[in-house]
């Protein structure tokens, strides 16, 4: 039971806003010591686990490729693509953005869009503009609702799309962890099984967006 002190360390550490990496390292040490291991034994357990799972870091081999493509204007291209959706109602527009985000995340392009790169400068203003075109000037509450929905769309698209991507850290970590417990799974299987979930998430959120669109139109009296 004392090993749960590690969990407490994580909670307290994050609440106090310490650097997450240090918090996690400290929590791992606390857990090990609470389990009765000597500090040297904890260090050895760290080392063994790190060495066994280092292939997770091998995924960063793609960093130079991402650098080259971004240097050639990948984010600007993404912006141009999203900008083509001008003049569409907010529901279909955000559905289009959801599809874009999910598909690009499934292909591994997780940094092509995001809250800082696309939602704040583009998607949220375009969504607000789409609603205003339908129902006239927005009051503060509705404006915040639209922005929140745009952010939520980005989150959902990224989260359910990136699990389909083979080299994402979470998939590789799952594979590695199961392997150390004796269960050998092909990463491809994990990725393929993420596809039904992604489709369900898309359908559910698309339905929410259409209902949102309808609610806004009714609220605006159009």
């Amino acid at each position: 039971m004392l090993t749960l002190l590690g969990v407490a360390t994580v909670v307290v550490g994050f609440a106090v806003r310490l650097n997450p990496l240090l918090v996690v390292t400290l929590a791992a040490f606390v857990t090990g010591l609470a389990a009765g291991l000597t500090p040297i034994a904890v260090l050895e357990a760290f080392g063994k686990a790190f060495n066994d799972n280092r292939f997770v870091t091998a995924a960063y081999l793609v960093l130079p490729v991402i650098g080259v493509v971004e240097r050639a204007g990948l984010q600007e291209r993404a912006r141009a693509l999203i900008g083509r959706f001008r003049g569409v109602s907010v529901g279909p527009f955000l559905i289009g953005y959801l599809a874009f985000r999910q598909i690009t995340s499934a292909l591994g392009l997780t940094s092509i869009a995001g809250h800082a790169q696309s939602v704040r400068p583009m998607v949220a203003p375009m969504a607000e503009g789409a609603v205003e075109a339908q129902t006239g000037p927005l009051d503060e509450a509705t404006r915040q609702d639209v922005r929140a929905m745009a952010s939520a769309t980005d989150n959902i698209g990224l989260f359910f799309g990136e699990d389909i991507f083979l080299a994402i850290g979470s998939i590789l970590l799952m594979v590695g962890f199961l392997a150390t417990s004796g269960i050998v799974i092909d990463p491809l299987h994990l990725s393929l099984w993420a596809i039904p979930t992604a489709i369900v998430a898309f359908v559910l959120h698309a339905a929410r967006l259409l209902l949102f669109d309808r609610r806004l139109r009714r609220r605006g009296g159009a």
Binding site: N19, L21, L22, V24, T25, I40, V42, L43, E44, A45, F46, G47, K48, F50, N51, R54, F55, T57, A58, A59, Y60, L61, V62, P64, V65, I66, V69, E70, R71, A72, G73, L74, Q75, E76, R77, A78, A80, L81, T104, L107, G108, L109, I112, L166, A167, L172, V175, A179, V184, I185, D186, P187, L188
Partner: protein, 114 residues
């Protein structure tokens, strides 16, 4: 299938290159922190099995310490400006998205697991 050990050597060499390039980057005030970090990662890939458990444990502490205590930084490399990128984006079009190759480590990794 490409063996996992070959991927590790490739990764080790690439990360060692990152370390060297970081150390040479005079625009970065924290270049030695960067170099140390990537150097340790490269060491893990190239010699991880030879280091033993305790050695790897110390390596992990080193990585966590360098990153956790804020010894990493960013330089200002000579790269394209936002306007240049806009022009390049128009030139290359959607080939930017489709030209990105499928990540090499994962296909060799999945081969090794089967």
């Amino acid at each position: 299938m490409i063996k996992l050990s070959a991927v590790y050597i490739l990764a080790g060499l690439v990360f060692a290159a990152f370390a060297v390039l970081s150390a040479l980057d005079r625009n970065n005030s924290r270049r030695f922190g960067n170099a140390a970090f990537w150097g340790l990662v490269a060491l893990s890939f190239l010699a991880g099995d030879a280091l033993g458990d305790l050695g790897n444990g110390v390596l992990v502490l080193g990585l966590a310490g360098i990153a956790g205590f804020g010894l990493l930084g960013r330089g200002q490399p000579a790269t394209t400006s936002p306007e240049d990128r806009k022009a390049l984006a128009e030139r290359f079009g959607d080939r930017l998205c489709s030209s990105r190759p499928s990540p090499c480590p994962s296909s060799s990794l999945s081969g090794c697991w089967s």
